[in-house]
Amino acid sequence: MTGIPHRWYNVIPDLSRPLPPPRDPEELGAESRIELLPRLFPDALIDQEQTSERWVEIPTEVFDAYRTLGRPTPLVRLKRLERVLGTRARIYAKREDVNPTGSHKPNTAVAQAYYARQEGVKKLVTETGAGQWGSAVALASAVMGLRCTVFMTRSSYLTKPYRRTLMLSFGAEVVSSPSERTEIGRRFLASDPNHPGSLGIAISEGVETVLSEESTKYAVGSVMNFTILHQTVIGLEAMRQMEEEGVEPDVIIGCVGGGSNFGGIALPFIGSRLRGEGYERTRIIGVESKGAPRMTTGRYDYEFVDSAGYLPRLKMYNLGKDFLPPTIHAAGLRYHGLSPIVSLLLREHLIEARSYQQEEAFAAALKLTRVEGLLPAPETAHAVSAVLEEAERYRRTNEEGVILLCFSGHGLLDLQSYERFLPSE
């Protein structure tokens, strides 16, 4: 009994209303992005995106890879944090940071790489900003025996040499974007040879590469239903682990970039609730950065997934595909949109949204670090802010409660960021 589930959970069949399907651009004559999907993604993933089934079998080889990566990940109680906060709430963290690249991202990356290889794909291409997703795809490609090209925004390429080396160590090719490799890259380089790059450009370069090469597919880090589906291993494990502990979460908290770690931990609980099988009183809180406040200030409407507009439009809370978030340290939260599933849950008031400034987030993270010895990733730090706020609420009311945090990643490769937020002593 390893405790890794054998099936992923698809919440869609349990939702209270249908998930709005992806749509092509509005103009009747526009090129179909939906038609493009099979050229970008493995068939199995498109199939998962559209499945009507509640449970999706985890292939044996992905299950094995999960074991190697350290699944089931530990569920740990943060007793010392509880004590310093003076709260009667019990705080649990689901430690996705034990994944070898330091975040939950490999949970979907290995699945994507597996399906790609099953279909004869030889190479995965993706984009990366700070490097978390790129590392996960590089790892997954290594594990599944694929080649891998990561377009890394030039600014990160120059300032995050370690993430780059990590990807190289996994055997991936890392290309500074914009690059000479693609038409679009050359165009940007022509306009500015020192162009810092952007996620939009990196995606465009990746898609251009995928479309121009044989046996090459794109790997996508969040937002799409299948990425959330794969991440439900987090919540399925956590649910079982909490049962073993004999507790039920009253509050579940995760940070929200594209929504994959948050959806991953929350959906199995929400699903039980929607099916009337429990967790009726559990509050689910998604935490975003005030730098990209889609949930708290965005519109719920169709928008392109990627700023380049290669992928179909999805119905989601968003700030517009051209939204330029401020440079924040939690690069994984700098996104204009949000998973349609998570968006729908928010719209239906099945989850709550909260946003924090990064200063608060780092301060909260350090508070945790200094009693528990766990250093959250900057993204995770935002979720920690909400944990502290909830714990404080329990303290004030002197109630008992159980808080479950998705500890989506560690900050060992973000120590540069921490440097700036250390209190000067």
Partner: protein
């Protein structure tokens, strides 16, 4: 409508490639139900082929939607269903749509009703009952199971499952699995499936998986675009045959 297996053919009202006489030939070749699309500029779930068809129709009628609606009567088919987006119909006035078309169709099918306006289902039911029309519902593969059970309890003529994300665009989705899931939820309620159906082989598999009917649209419109009207009649015949085998 009868509860046997149904072949449904979709065409766009106002598309000048769609001649009433051709429709007749479809009916004689095995088409059981004619699905008439009211063209709207906001073609939420339509792929390139139907979008082109819509564009042609909108060009023809120059946006005079009422005229298009009135064209329903031109088509001679035993069973007709009007297909249009709820968003569009609601803007125009539901009663306007029903009052013009109801006399000539068995049902009005709104593909976006359950997706974008689930809270207005009662209104749809009431209006259809008032005009003596049967209920039909469209669901995507990503439909909640409880919703399927709920609409099944309303005793619709059929439930239409869109197998793909948009019309006419085939994706590597395991349609049979999804058909099986939805059919189990529907029980006795007929299930028709559509989006990117174009071969007898597909029809056989979908029927085997539990579909009670199949919709074909883009495949036919594409042939018409290519001037292959004869082949489109042949396609209708072969799909119908596949359905019965």
């Amino acid at each position: 409508m009868s509860s046997g297996r149904r072949l449904i053919v979709y065409v766009t009202l106002g598309d000048d490639l769609v001649k009433p006489q051709l429709i007749q030939r479809f009916m004689h070749s095995g088409c059981d139900v004619l699905e008439l699309g009211l063209p709207t500029p906001l073609a939420k779930y339509d792929g390139p082929t139907i979008r082109r068809s819509i564009a042609r129709a909108l060009r023809t009628c120059d946006g005079r939607v009422r005229e298009l609606l009135d064209m329903v009567r031109q088509f001679d088919a035993e069973q007709k269903v009007l297909f249009t987006y709820f968003e569009f119909a609601a803007n125009m006035g539901l009663r306007e749509v029903y009052s013009r078309a109801a006399e000539h169709v068995e049902s009005v099918l709104f593909p976006d009703l359950l997706i974008d306006y689930p809270e207005r289902v009662d209104e749809y039911v009431a209006m259809s009952r008032e005009y003596g029309l049967e209920l039909t519902f469209f669901v995507p593969t990503t439909v909640p199971h409880r919703l399927v059970t709920r609409i099944a309890s309303l005793d619709p003529a059929f439930v239409y499952l869109g197998l793909m994300i948009s019309t006419g665009v085939h994706l590597p989705v395991t349609a049979e699995r999804n058909i099986g899931v939805i059919k189990r939820l529907l029980g006795q309620v007929p299930l028709v499936v559509g989006f990117a159906v174009r071969t007898p082989e597909q029809v056989r598999r979908y029927v085997a998986a539990g579909a009670d009917g199949v919709v074909v649209g883009s495949a036919i419109l594409k042939m018409l675009e290519e001037g292959e009207a004869e082949r489109s009649v042949e396609l209708v015949r072969s799909l119908k045959e596949a359905m019965e085998s």
